[in-house]
């Protein structure tokens, strides 16, 4: 084993050990010491993962077998971490996002026992393990650790709305973990091993097998519940809206998208040989991605509660990622990886801005905050920039990801995919720009559809220094603006190694660019919709009246299933599973 590979377990063991030590010593630590330790640990994880990613990119994917249980004679008994460049880069990004979120949360909680930092480090370790593992049962364990840490962090404030949101989150995601375990059990019944690579070979041998198809359905449904794509997405808007804003940064920026990344990994490494799985992904999943993108965009537009708006916009962007991965091509998966990072940066910054408004404006309601942001030009400019990036402007990392997904969709020859991406991204950008214009410029005295959406009173501690909250947010936005075009070649190589970790590709051609026209189209869409909402009192009454009457039934149909009732959400999970089986039966 190379010395570099022995760094792999440290990415998980490190934060776990620090969390345990911090919990034991919490009563003795001075006030800001847990903050410093947690930030340094997250940065350390990010650095180690970056080193691993770089090494893997040059010398091939690393494998670390815990306890030295290497496979002997084709028998795999051990549990391994498979460190390919894409997984390690995603893990490194997660570490960076945690560090930014912990800086943002500096002094956020009045507490002495550092429980928040312990939970965050546990959450970090679980997410890194989830991305790096190459063993199905280990994947389930990390999924579950990640969930438990997330449940506790959602309910952290122990107020009635956060507890209700956390209960919905816990019930739906626990059901996801049972389905995942059921899927793992079914695959084990056929393959007799739990290692990804050995699994992939067994699945390829099995051919058309209902047990493998059923296992894929259960695993995919579990990951799509965590990855919040229609019709499994309902918990997200409840949980992300009530969680403390530093936690929502991680939830929307990394947690949900990591489930889709792992789904792509399973699709490429484990189920590549299953024709059923491929057909399901290229057929139904593309459609579900499009539905998520459009429905999430429309619901985001309808919100006045800022965190709930951002939560729905996350659903829309997850739909775009699902469309990228569902193509199962190198371009599409590269799109998913780049989009993951680009969206995480922008959405993380936006949740931080919502947190800044909670602290400085003492409200989370767009209509109540109107004009209260006057004079906070840095916050306002950051929010406008984030809104434009979210709306699909052709700059930076998120745009490169969108472009790759467009290119992959071009291969599927379904023009409605591009329309769904433009509409979903455009609507989410419009919602953020509308809120920005209202809060920081005092525009939009007349509220449209958003006036009818549910809201909540919520505040966060006001005595934190503004620059400390804005600094990590501006850093994320600056990173989001970096030109990612140069990285196309590296991403292409990383995705080739994700599909086949044992190979070192010689030369992979960089993935080509389609055109900036679609990006400009969705920017124009978001700017014009936002302008319509902000200056609607100056438009002819006839025009706004017709627009309202035309869209009202649509919003009425869309809002009905988002009832907040966990029973409804579980029923929708059943509907989703039924759709999977029907799609398989019709094949």
């Amino acid at each position: 084993m190379t010395p570099v590979a022995s760094l792999a377990p440290l990415t998980v063991a490190g934060p776990l050990a620090v969390a345990a030590a911090m919990l034991a010593l919490a009563h003795a630590l001075p006030r800001y010491v847990p903050d410093v330790i947690a930030i340094l640990t997250a940065l350390g994880v990010a650095a180690i993962c970056a080193v691993l990613a770089r090494h893997a990119l040059e010398h091939g994917a690393l494998v670390y077998w815990f306890g030295g249980w290497r496979p002997l004679g084709g028998v795999v008994l051990g549990i391994g971490f498979g460190v390919d460049p894409a997984s390690a880069a995603i893990a490194s990004f997660i570490g960076l996002l945690f560090a930014a979120s912990l800086v943002f949360a500096w002094g956020y909680f009045d507490e002495v026992h550092a429980h928040f930092h312990v939970l965050m480090l546990l959450f970090l370790a679980a997410m890194v393990g989830f991305c790096l593992t190459r063993d199905l049962f280990d994947l389930f364990v990390w999924f579950e650790v990640m969930s438990v840490a997330a449940f506790a962090l959602t309910a952290y404030q122990l107020e009635a709305p956060s507890l209700a949101g956390a209960l919905n989150f816990t019930v739906t995601n626990s059901l996801a973990s049972f389905m995942m375990l059921g899927g793992v059990g079914l695959v084990y019944a056929r393959a007799g091993v739990l290692d990804f690579q050995a699994h992939g070979q067994a699945v390829a041998r099995a051919g058309h097998d209902p047990v493998i198809a059923g296992a894929f359905c259960l695993l995919a449904a579990a990951l799509m519940i965590k990855g919040a794509t229609a019709p499994f997405h309902f918990w997200l808007s409840d949980a992300h809206a009530v969680a403390p804003s530093p936690v929502s940064v991680i939830f929307s920026g990394a947690m949900v998208a990591s489930a889709l990344f792992v789904l792509a990994k399973l699709g490429l490494q484990v189920f590549a040989g299953s024709a059923d799985a491929r057909a399901l992904m290229r057929g139904l999943f593309v459609g579900l991605g499009a539905v998520s993108a459009v429905a999430g965009g429309l619901m985001a537009w309808r919100q006045r509660h800022l965190k709930r708006m951002l939560a729905f916009s996350t659903i829309a962007h997850l739909g775009v990622m699902l469309m990228g991965l569902a193509s199962l091509t190198a371009t599409g998966v590269a799109g998913l990886v780049v989009y993951f990072v680009g969206h995480g940066l922008v959405k993380g910054a936006l949740f931080m801005l919502a947190g800044v408004l909670l602290a400085t404006g003492q409200s989370i309601d767009e209509l109540r905050l109107r004009g209260r942001g006057r004079g906070q030009w840095a916050t306002g400019l950051a929010m406008a920039l984030a809104g434009i990036l979210l709306g699909g402007a052709p700059w930076g990392v998120l745009d490169t990801g969108t472009d790759l997904v467009h290119a992959a969709a071009g291969g599927l020859a379904r023009p409605w995919i591009a329309a769904a991406i433009v509409l979903g991204a455009g609507l989410t950008g419009a919602a953020v720009l509308r809120a920005c214009g209202r809060i920081f410029l005092g525009l939009g005295p007349q509220a449209g559809e958003e006036a009818h959406s549910p809201t909540d009173e919520e505040t966060e501690r006001a005595d934190r220094p503004l620059w400390l909250m804005l600094a990590p947010c501006l850093l994320l936005l600056a990173l989001a603006l970096l030109p990612a075009e140069a990285a196309r070649g590296l991403v292409a190589r990383a995705v080739a190694m994700l599909a086949d970790p044992s190979a070192i590709p010689a030369r992979v051609p960089a993935l080509g660019r389609t055109s900036a026209a679609l990006g400009w189209a969705s920017t124009a869409l978001s700017l014009s919709i936002a302008a319509f909402a902000l200056w609607r009192e100056r438009l002819p009454r006839l025009l706004t009246g017709v627009a309202d009457r035309a869209t009202r039934p649509l919003f009425g149909v869309l809002k009905t299933p988002h009832s907040g009732l966990v029973g409804d959400y579980v029923a929708w999970i059943g509907v989703g599973l039924a759709a999977f089986s029907i799609a398989l039966a019709l094949r």
Partner: protein
């Protein structure tokens, strides 16, 4: 292996889901979630079962005696630990939510109720 464990697992899962969908009390709902979870125990133990085999403890059996699959049993054990954690967390949250609001009815607790029009 016969089809019976698969059917029992599917039935348990469906029963649990039905309970969750129709539940009007969070404690009852957590119980239904545990029913869903027990379906995974049945499935996993069914997957690893071998007719006529012994428990995978070789203390008083010579090596090579047919035994049931110990891997799935380890999985079930882990699953039980995980399930206990989640159940404890859910019940703790239910207690807190009852303290705050005086109800355990999911319909009364729904976050962001959107009842206009």
């Amino acid at each position: 292996m016969s089809a019976a464990p698969w059917l029992v697992a599917a039935l348990l899962f469906a029963a649990g889901v039905f309970g969750i969908v129709t539940s009007r009390n969070f404690i009852h709902l957590v119980g239904c979630l545990s029913v869903c979870q027990s379906s995974t125990y049945v499935l996993l133990l069914g997957v690893g079962y071998r007719w006529g085999a012994v428990a995978p403890v070789f203390y008083d059996h010579p090596p090579g005696t047919p035994a049931v699959d110990p891997v799935v049993q380890a999985l079930v054990l882990t699953d039980i630990v995980v399930g206990a954690t989640v159940t404890a967390l859910l019940l703790a949250m239910a207690v807190r939510v009852h303290d705050k609001t005086g109800t355990l009815d999911p319909q009364a607790l729904a976050p962001f109720p959107d009842r206009r029009r």
